[in-house]
């Protein structure tokens, strides 16, 4: 297995940061999210050109063969600028769904296209209750192999409207299997109005939709995909939390009331000090989860479970207080504070709620106590 050293990882992060600095600054972000599908095809092509979509794709399929640490650090950059579009859906969810399966043919056919950006993918995982752990799956598969059909409804599918490749988790619990939609007949993709206006969610109904079973796409493989996706999400949360905090502290240094910067008032200064703990904890939590996963550590499941709520809690706290500390300007549509708040709330429920993650974390620890 190829090893990416920290220098290469840093180079990749830097090139992403540079790209986003001018292609997804606030003005660009607002332009992109005003579009129907919230997706900038030109930016996507540029991301593909510098190899950002290949982070989790093995070398033999045109990728760099990276793992959790590579995608985590890239997601931090995406989070900082609230990158819209299908980065998580395609470069993480769909890509990892395939790499964690045992389907050599599907990998050879689909991964190169996901890696070069010519194909956008997503995975329908949750049902209408919005559970990502296989407890509410409403899509049922009939048959298998090349000739399966899917029926039912999937909820909260990210970027379903722009995805050319739709992978679907059918069944529940240990019986979950992964399918690739092969014919759009009978498929109804309904865009949903989302609270986080930088993200696009869809509801997808299946009426005897033709599909191909992904070999080795069993419940264990699906859970491995969700683990990596949660690490990636934690990275995105940490990046957003960090930037949101930094923007706020800049404001505290420059906003003058009563003849001095408002950051000089203890009521504000002390909030900022407390939030610095959250900023650092978000970064540490996301990176620790990535490191444990990449290193195959025995406690990886525990750390990923912890990151799946603790990083988001930190992000939500920062987003909530940041808006309060901005005062009136924070209540305006034109200020980015509400965009970070919307993203924080979105990310705190997407891929599973904090409550479930906390309970899962404690269940793992209970076995040690």
């Amino acid at each position: 297995m190829p090893v990416i050293d920290s220098e290469q990882r840093e180079a990749m992060r830097e090139s992403f940061e540079r790209l986003l600095a001018h292609r997804c600054d606030e003005a660009e972000l607002r332009r992109i999210i005003a579009m129907q599908d919230g997706h900038d095809a030109a930016l996507w092509r540029d991301m593909a050109r510098i190899g950002l979509l290949t982070a989790l794709v093995p070398e033999e399929h045109g990728g760099i063969g990276g793992g959790a640490q590579e995608i985590e650090i890239l997601m931090e950059e995406a989070g900082k600028v609230l990158l819209p579009g299908p980065f998580l859906s395609s470069a993480v969810l769909a890509t990892v769904a395939l790499t964690e399966s045992g389907d050599a043919a599907a990998k050879a056919r689909l991964l190169p296209a996901l890696a070069d950006g010519s194909l956008i993918g997503t995975v329908a995982i949750a049902g209408e209750q919005g559970l990502w752990d296989g407890h509410d799956g409403d899509v049922a598969a009939a048959g298998g192999g090349e000739n399966a059909t899917l029926s039912g409804v999937a909820g909260y599918v990210s970027d379903g409207a722009v995805a050319g490749l739709l992978l679907v988790v059918a069944g529940r619990g240990a019986d979950r299997r992964l399918f690739e939609v092969t014919d759009r007949a009978g498929l109804t993709v309904t865009p949903l109005e989302g609270f986080d206006i930088t993200q696009r969610l869809t509801r997808i109904a299946f009426a005897d939709v033709k599909a191909r079973e992904i070999a080795g796409g069993d419940a264990a493989a699906i859970d491995r995909m969700i683990d990596i996706a949660r690490i990636a999400l934690a990275g995105r949360q940490a990046g957003a939390a960090r930037r949101n905090f930094d923007i706020t502290v800049d404001y505290l240094r420059t906003r003058i009331q009563f003849g001095r910067p408002i950051g000089g008032f203890q009521a504000i200064k002390h909030m900022a000090a407390d939030l610095l703990i959250e900023r650092e904890s978000a970064i540490s939590g996301a990176r620790a989860a990535a490191e444990a996963h990449a290193g195959g550590k025995g406690n990886a499941a525990e750390i990923v479970a912890m990151a799946s709520f603790a990083v988001g809690e930190a992000q939500v706290k920062i987003a909530f207080d940041a808006l309060q500390m901005h005062g009136g300007i924070g209540f305006t549509w034109e200020h980015p504070c509400h965009l970070y708040l919307r993203r924080a709330w979105h990310d705190s429920k997407f891929l599973g709620s904090h409550d479930l993650a906390r309970d899962h974390f404690l269940s793992i620890l209970e076995k040690q106590a």
Binding site: V249, G263, H270, D274, E280, S284, F361, L362, L365, E366
Partner: protein
């Protein structure tokens, strides 16, 4: 010298010198080391490995701080004490940095090897958070200073050979400018020590009454009036020690698991509110450990910043831990004493947690420091900062 050569030298030295039998209390501990540990530490010091980053004339090897850390790590790996004193000993470092030649000749080696013990004479009844307003006075009289005043919250005062004393030598300049820093001999007539009865029932801290105590003039660090500068350096070493303590303990998991065990034993482990609280507390502990670990390796100058967050972060953990324990025990938390050990432990920890949120600078002062020194927010308004101390005392007097 290359890193490889240095590490090889240290390993060879360790292999050639038989380790001491007794366990060490730790070089950052205020207490005097046991005799055979002192013997060992003297050998380490003679080899230059106690303070490798110091100049050769003070017993160091003139290494960079980075290489010095390599030496320390070799000793740590071998489970041996005596190295790393150049990072973590408060008295040794400030004496080396600010001491007179006479005081260095007399005391430096003793502080490096732990042969001498010390205590910190900083806080006063009227100078807690506002440490620069101390009123303990030192007056020069020939070859010594005469000291009068009162100090408080002094650990290990009974055992200490020297007290690191912050005092005032000039009353006609603003408060920070009139301070001096002395190494005060503790075993003398003019020093009276009274233990403080704490809310936990213990008597760990002391009050120190200083009545015409004598300090040799050569025990002045830096110059008269430069006491605040020395104080900042001393606090820097103290924070480093506290920060490292937090990182090295790695007790996050275990303390968290104890909460789970307590909830199980009391039939509360399936209570969703208790589960939620425990999970959050364990996460906070672990994130704090992770932050400290990142602080150690951060090469971009963020290290010290992250370190100072740790103490503040522990406050919510410790007070939160006590709250959850109380929720788990329910009515039994009304009880106390040896007949009710779980309640006693809870109540003790609940009270002891204030050591973290008050001692070494309250959480509120900590937030000021973080806001001002890390985040660059404006300083607090201090009405007495620019006026002669004698004048601000008069204002305080009339207000009182």
């Amino acid at each position: 010298m290359t890193d490889e050569q240095l590490i090889a030298d240290v390993r060879a030295w360790i292999a050639a010198n038989p380790a001491p039998a007794a366990a060490d209390a730790g070089h950052s501990d205020f207490l005097r080391s046991p005799p055979d540990i002192i013997d060992w530490r003297e050998k380490v010091h003679a080899a230059g490995y106690a303070v490798p980053s110091w100049p050769v004339r003070f017993g160091g090897l003139g290494l960079t701080p980075r290489q010095s850390l390599l030496v320390e790590q070799e000793f740590k790996k071998a489970g041996l004490p005596g190295s790393g004193v150049d990072r973590t000993s408060i008295p040794a470092n400030i004496l080396m940095q600010f001491g007179t030649d006479e005081a260095r000749a007399k005391l430096l080696d003793r502080f490096v090897t732990g042969a001498s013990s010390f205590c910190l004479l900083y806080s006063e009844p009227g100078a807690g958070s506002d440490l620069a307003s101390v009123r303990t006075r030192a007056d020069r009289d020939g070859d010594h200073y005469v000291v009068n005043g009162q100090k408080v919250w002094t650990s290990s005062a009974m055992d200490a050979e020297y007290g690191l004393l912050l005092c005032r030598t000039d009353w006609d300049v603003p408060k920070h400018a009139g301070l001096s820093f002395l190494l005060c001999p503790m075993k003398q007539e003019g020093i009276e020590i009274r233990p403080i009865h704490q809310i936990t029932g213990e008597r760990h801290f002391n009050e120190v009454f200083i009545d015409d105590a004598k300090v040799p003039a050569e025990n002045l660090l830096a110059q008269e009036g430069a006491g605040w500068k020395v104080m900042q350096a001393a606090l820097g070493y103290e924070r480093l020690i506290m920060g490292e303590g937090a990182t090295d303990r790695h007790d996050g998991g275990d303390a968290g698991l104890a909460l789970i065990a307590l909830a199980k034993a009391n039939g509360k482990i399936d209570d969703p509110v208790i589960r939620r609280d425990i999970a959050q507390l364990i996460a906070w502990r672990r994130l704090n450990d992770l932050n400290a670990a990142r602080a150690k390796t951060a090469g971009d100058g963020q290290g010290a910043a992250l370190m100072s967050l740790g103490k503040l972060a522990m406050s919510r953990v410790l007070h939160g831990d006590a709250r959850v324990r109380r929720d788990i025990l329910g009515a039994r938390s009304l009880l106390d004493g040896p007949a009710f050990p779980d309640a006693r432990e809870l109540n003790y920890h609940a009270l002891f947690s204030y050591i973290n949120s008050i001692g070494g600078g309250t959480d509120q002062i900590q937030r000021n420091i973080i806001g001002e020194r890390i985040l660059g927010l404006p300083r607090e308004v201090e009405t007495d900062r620019a006026i002669p101390f004698r004048q601000s005392m008069a204002v305080a007097g009339s207000a009182g």
